[in-house]
Symmetry: C2
Subunit: 443 residues, 2 copies
């Protein structure tokens, strides 16, 4: 029996209708705009084709008029039940919902995404009144896996999840995206130098930056997770000059969460008592988890944990080696807690930061109060009003202990920047990265 014979789900392609047909007898419709350059006024009417396999495998029935033939280079398509038309505002129970939000996830067939996508779809990130469209970006090689993920999302019947589309071309998938969660990156092969990894992944993020610049919402928020994430984020924003550089983040939230847990354990308190933890700098072994300004029950950590040696030496090592220990124990990298930290990172931008507290994010340096090199992506303490934007926290005290370490992670980021100059439009690259500073347990 061939795959197509028992393919499980109905697949719909869209027929593009001229916009003056939008008053035609469509009982409900939703504007889709997947292709670069397609007018948003065009309305696509579903042509039901009973199949949810890849578009290239679909046998078009004689009655269908496929206006957008599927081919390998252009695979962005709505998926299965998510091609169904509907009008949110016409439905009684959804009348109080917000407008649909479009969220892109790259590396969508990977394990981090396999956790993250279901969290996004469940409403736990953006709220129970926020319908969501998920755009899954993968590779040619992972296309079937993307379909598998889309099928599992179908079977989950999440009421807020109104659109799922999958594709391999960022210029299609990123269109009108309001959030881009960039997880996909090439893993480091055996013996590969960090400089080579920077180049390979930098090219991916340069391309994705160009695609965001071309088709995403002008207010898109971008969180870069794929490593080396700070410099990937820098490359990405440099290739997207029409999107504010402030909208780009490199994920250091898992490091912050791990730091909070270690401080809680050492102090013998529950983790919700720990606040004001900053991760400074690069998401690498030069990162600086800041216990100097951190608090436990509102009291400076140094007054609660009287073990200076532990704070100055072991603490940072524990935070950084966590991923490596997890690999040893669990045999896999920490996909679930990474996904949780991405959720935390988004939530920190869409909900007001609790009074007096802050969160860490790798952000573009442009007028920072700490004398850190400008024009790099550096993890800093941030606060948000909950509008998706943030401001730097200005009152953190950098003592000599911190300054020395911050200088080192800053120097590393400056060196990484020189190493990718060919990808940021700043001339010839010069690579001088003697140390391997990849965090254990990460690729």
């Amino acid at each position: 029996m061939s795959l197509a014979e028992f393919s499980p789900c109905s697949y719909s392609r869209y027929q593009t209708l001229p916009s003056n047909l939008s008053s035609a007898p469509l009982t409900a419709f939703h504007v889709h705009a997947f292709k670069r350059g397609r007018s948003k006024l065009q309305v696509r009417r579903p042509l039901n084709i009973t199949c949810s396999v890849a578009p290239s495998q679909v046998q078009s029935p004689a009655t269908a008029v496929p206006v957008r033939p599927a081919d390998a280079a252009n695979k962005q398509e709505c998926y299965g039940v998510f091609c169904t038309t509907y009008d949110l505002k016409a439905e009684e129970k959804t009348k109080t919902w917000k407008s649909l939000i479009r969220v892109v996830v790259s590396g969508a067939a990977g394990m981090i995404s396999n956790h993250l996508l279901f969290k996004l779809a469940s409403g736990e990130v953006f709220g129970q009144d926020q319908p969501i469209a998920l755009r899954l970006l993968g590779s040619e090689r992972s296309y079937q896996a993307l379909e598998g993920v889309a099928m599992e999302l179908e079977d989950s019947l999440y009421p807020l999840l109104r659109e799922v589309s999958i594709g391999v071309n960022p210029y299609d998938v990123f269109e009108d995206a309001e959030w881009a969660l960039l997880i996909g990156a090439k893993p480091r092969g055996p013996g590969m130098e960090r400089a080579a990894l920077l180049d390979i992944n930098g090219q991916i993020f340069a391309e994705q930056g160009k695609a965001l610049n071309a088709v995403a919402s002008r207010s898109v928020k971008v969180i870069v997770v794929g490593n080396p994430c700070n410099t990937n984020a820098l490359i990405c924003l440099k290739n997207a000059p029409n999107i504010p550089a402030k909208n780009f983040h490199a994920l250091t939230r898992l490091d912050e969460n791990r730091a909070k847990c270690q401080l809680a354990l050492k102090a013998g308190v529950f983790y919700d008592k720990v606040s004001n933890v900053t991760i400074w700098g690069n998401h690498s072994t030069t990162q600086v988890p800041d216990f100097v300004n951190a608090k436990i029950n509102g009291v400076p950590v140094k007054k609660v944990i009287n073990d200076t040696k532990w704070l100055e030496q072991e603490f940072t090592e524990r935070v950084q080696k966590r991923g490596g220990v997890l690999i040893q124990k669990w045999g896999r990298s920490s996909a679930a807690s990474t996904a949780v930290s991405i959720v935390d990172g988004i939530r920190s931008l869409v909900t007001p930061t609790p009074e007096g507290d802050w969160f860490s994010s790798g952000v573009y340096t442009n007028g920072n109060p700490y004398g850190i090199e400008e024009d790099i992506v550096f993890s800093m303490p941030c606060r948000s009003k909950g509008d998706g934007d943030y401001e730097l926290v200005k009152e953190v005290v950098i003592d000599d202990f911190l300054r020395e370490r911050i200088k080192k992670t800053e120097a590393e980021l400056i060196a990484e920047k020189r190493c990718v100059a060919h990808l940021t439009g700043e001339g010839n690259a010069f690579c001088d990265l003697p140390e391997d500073t990849m965090l254990p347990g990460e690729q």
Copy 2:
């Protein structure tokens, strides 16, 4: 460097104090009772040991008095930061919270659990005012992976997650459990007959039934996911005579969710328009997804989908083959959507069923209105007031089409029951299971 040298988290063991010490200067405490027979009045005071590796790897500092030496046979221990003492009611922000709920997950190192545990911890299942204790049951072989899962739960900083403990002995892990989600089961080896699988897994569920009977809460709700789940649930409840048989469920919710998705796709509507879908019988290829009583927008499906051949033939096949297609596409079984369906199953018991609708669950037959054999576990339409209990829906019409198929799945369950008579205390087993009715994509 040895593992212990950079082990990342503080590990605490508990010192059992006499209960008259509970007024001693412990600023906050929480009653733990992990061991069978231990008085709940005993209070355990944490002894901080700077390590979150397995108890057997912990080097006790000289000041610690380990009152419960860890050994391989008795590994149920609180984990890392979750050994921290606290008093929920003393904390301002938690004063409106419910009492801690204890949830056991078996097969806790597996992929379904890896999704499920984080959903339970996030509050999306039991609500944002429900603090939770997670008890992770695994095997000796998976013990390190259990620790990895516990570490990722630590790093996720879920405020509602107040206790995590891991263990390999159900008599420890099930103590006072209010929910038992039994996912762990042996996968079928190459060439293994279904009868052999029934025997191997039946033994696991017989033991777990005995353990539930001995130590769990008398009102524990049990959801059996490990296959063959109906007969495993029957074995489990037969070995737990002091727990109401009504409290045991076999998971058929993923089948229901898939059936709803397929009907939605065929009708060209969004899945939230589909209601009243029953899965009758066994979680196997004899199951009967009921389109006869199902509704779309409140109208009988047969009036919406005018394709009788599709309904009578293709529909069921599509539901059943979904898992197999997913394996082909995605290369793994459908862990994420299975976890979602477990969440749905629990939610259906702890929230009132919407007026006029119902949900499917494999339940113990004891006075059912449909003439189905008594004393088996059969998936049926159920309704709940949201109190954890359910009642059978009585008004469903079984027509000739359904009756014929229901007879077949009933006969299979009766045969499976005969095949495990040695595990239910009903004499010698007699196995006559000619067909392989395992659902594709399941183990």
